[in-house]
């Protein structure tokens, strides 16, 4: 049967959420077809598969669609049981990982986006908030990992937390370049700094990252667009 076990990912290189799913599939060595969506001209398939949000990423497995990156990653982990395991086996640890995944996904990213799209006082406020939240995460790392050392450093394994960190803050140096401000300071958040260094060293992460110029151009575009419409 053609459709049996077929996996398709609808995404766009611009979306950190689609990147998460791409990383999860590649980490588990799951063969998949990739469909690059043009968000200004969404395919009929995308609209059919995600009528609620009409967004990427959408994973289609055996003809059945799943939307929302974190839901997709949990599905991947439950369906393909080969290693690496993306969520911990231990239920209490799993609850902790879900908590921090949600924190990074909702709180950190929202603040980062606000900083990216604002100027002047509004931007200063957002950046201050971002640093505060990074401090919270820095403290949290001591709670998540033994001695605060992420498993990626102790045994090279990448899980859902690393996937989410990578998608949002992996390109932090480029984000810093566009914002003109330091986001990840090795002195203020040493654990996060070394975590991101380890993540960005992984061959898979290097391979899947778009060329820096493309990312910088995208970030600049997002920022300029937002500033234009807020002053219009």
């Amino acid at each position: 049967m053609e459709e049996e076990n077929k996996v398709t990912l609808h995404g766009t290189w611009r979306s950190p959420y689609a990147k998460r799913v791409e990383l999860a599939l590649k980490l588990k060595a799951i063969p998949f077809e990739y469909v690059e969506e043009d968000l200004n001209n969404k395919s009929p398939l995308l609209l059919k598969y995600n009528p609620v949000y009409k967004k990427v990423p959408v994973l289609v497995h055996n003809g059945k669609p799943i939307a929302e990156s974190l839901c997709i990653i949990e599905y991947i982990d439950e369906t393909w049981k080969n290693s690496p395991q993306l969520l911990p086996e231990d239920r209490y640890k799993r609850a902790k990982v879900r908590f921090w995944t949600s924190f990074i996904h909702q709180q950190l990213y929202e603040t980062m986006l606000t900083a990216m799209k604002a100027a002047g006082e509004a931007q200063e406020k957002a950046i201050k908030e971002l640093w505060e939240k990074l401090q919270v995460l820095e403290e949290g790392m001591k709670d998540i990992f033994l001695n605060g050392t992420p498993s990626i450093i102790s045994n090279g394994s990448m899980g859902i937390l690393e996937i989410v960190m990578c998608s949002l803050l992996g390109p932090y140096k480029l984000q810093e370049e566009v914002l003109g401000i330091k986001i990840i300071d090795p002195e203020k958040t040493p654990l996060i700094f070394s975590w991101l260094e380890a993540i960005n060293e992984l061959p898979l992460v290097k391979e899947t990252a778009p060329p820096s110029e493309k990312t910088i151009a995208l970030l600049k575009f997002v920022r300029e667009n937002a500033l234009k419409s807020s002053s219009a």
């Binding site: 009528p51 609620v52 497995h61 059945k64 799943i66 939307a67 929302e68 974190l70 839901c71 997709i72 949990e74 599905y75 439950e78 369906t79 239920r91 209490y92 799993r94 609850a95 879900r98 908590f99 949600s102 924190f103 919270v136 403290e139 949290g140």
Partner: protein
């Protein structure tokens, strides 16, 4: 068997999510009432990041965020399952749980605001209700089945708190004629014994939220 404690406040809908999950599985627990105007050292110790309720404490270990608590409860006590077994159905359930968490705050924006801001919140709330009516609720009695599950519990705010918000603000959102499936679900949901026996008293809730709204408006 490790002790289960639940740190929460009445009449938080997030507290009730956890109550429904625990009771549907017959899990005994101790309720510890928290005063959010005067947060206890216990709360600050167990939820230092958000300082919010509910917090489930199992064998002395805290779990925060209501839907994360429910996933934990489901995994530790799988009896009377609240999630489908099939991984695809489970993914669909989690999609709707996330939708409930992301969109339900709109009804609270209606509660907290006036004028233009309230109009926008009402519009967004209606969008949410429409999406649930058209996409989430099939012809089955509950979301995805004949028994209540985590998705229904996640949408539980709509079963009682929404009405309180409507009555306190005078903003009608859920017209039964416009949302027949949703209305039917609410009626069915409230009749399920574990829900029926564990809903906050309507009049007490009305008085509580009416007072709250008055305070909010006075401070504007």
């Amino acid at each position: 068997m490790a002790e289960v404690k639940l740190l929460a406040t009445w009449p938080s809908p997030f507290y009730y999510r956890v109550v429904w999950a625990l009771k549907s599985k017959g899990i005994a627990y101790e309720f510890i009432e928290e005063d959010l105007a005067n947060k206890s050292p216990l709360l600050l110790q167990y939820n230092p990041v958000h300082k919010k309720i509910p917090v489930l404490i199992h064998g002395g270990k805290p779990i925060c965020e209501s839907m994360i608590i429910l996933e934990y409860i489901e995994e530790i006590w799988p009896k009377n399952s609240l999630l489908p077994n099939d991984p695809y159905e489970k993914a669909v359930a989690r999609f709707w749980i996330k939708f409930a968490d992301d969109k339900s705050p709109e009804i609270w924006r209606v509660f907290r605001s006036v004028g233009e801001e309230q109009e926008k919140a009402a519009k967004d709330s209606l969008e949410m209700l429409k999406t649930i009516e058209e996409h989430a609720l099939g012809e089955k009695k509950f979301f995805g089945g004949d028994k209540i599950g985590m998705v229904g519990i996640a949408f539980g705010q709509l079963a009682q708190w929404l009405q309180v918000i409507e009555d306190v603000t005078g903003v009608k959102l859920l017209e039964a004629s416009e949302f027949p499936r949703l209305q039917r679900w609410i009626n069915n949901f409230k009749q399920v014994p574990v829900i029926n026996e564990n809903l906050p008293d309507y009049d007490q809730m009305f008085a509580f939220f009416k007072g709250r709204r008055q305070m909010l408006l006075a401070s504007k």
